[in-house]
């Protein structure tokens, strides 16, 4: 599973992406965020702000109850600020 980070999430973590293999019981985005939070102090700092984080699965915006699969590309980011 490929995880991509943007904006301040990338800044805090110091990485733009990582490949992970979460256990089978991690079935949705909410559970994945809680699991990622335990990876490091930096991850905890990021995912504690979960209300400010949006996400996508395979480049489609999804809500946090959405189911995930092992080969998904999942991105975490703050609300968009284009234009």
């Amino acid at each position: 599973m490929k995880i991509i980070y943007f904006s301040w999430l990338k800044e805090i973590l110091g990485i733009s992406e990582e490949n992970i293999k979460p256990p089978k019981e991690i079935k949705n985005i909410n559970l994945l965020m809680k699991w990622l939070e335990k990876r490091s102090i930096k991850h905890k700092k990021v995912f504690l702000k979960s209300k400010s984080i949006r996400c996508s699965i395979n480049q489609q915006i999804v809500n946090k109850n959405s189911k995930i699969k092992q080969n998904d590309e999942i991105a975490f980011f703050p609300p968009f600020t284009g234009g």
């Binding site: 996508s56 480049q59 980011f77 609300p79 968009f80 600020t81 284009g82 234009g83």
Partner: protein, 130 residues
Amino acid sequence: MLIKKGIGAVVNFTGIARPANNSGNIEHLEIEHYAGMTEKKIKEVEKYALKKWLLNTCIIIHRYGKIKPGENIVYVGTAAKHRKNAFKACEYIIDYLKVRAPFWKIEKIKNKKIFVKSKKEDEKKIKKSF
């Protein structure tokens, strides 16, 4: 060309990087984007606007990377038979790009990085999500 297509109105919008905000002078903007998804979202809003406002044509350009004050950030051009549709479509597209296309702005002020926050009023303008 314009006669052939029946175009009676063209609206151009250009978004420009401001030199300052409440925190001080902006040295430059850094715009990050989600490659692949960005192009997809721009194509989606283009397709939607062409159909909804019966546009003859529509051009959308959004820069990313380092942008200095005074430089262009975004361009939206719409052409329609009548001005009302061209104006409405242009406004919708730029509002959409602000909150529904995966771009993130960072302002560099006095060697500090400021992550620009999205505005709730901008979010409310666009109900439709493609």
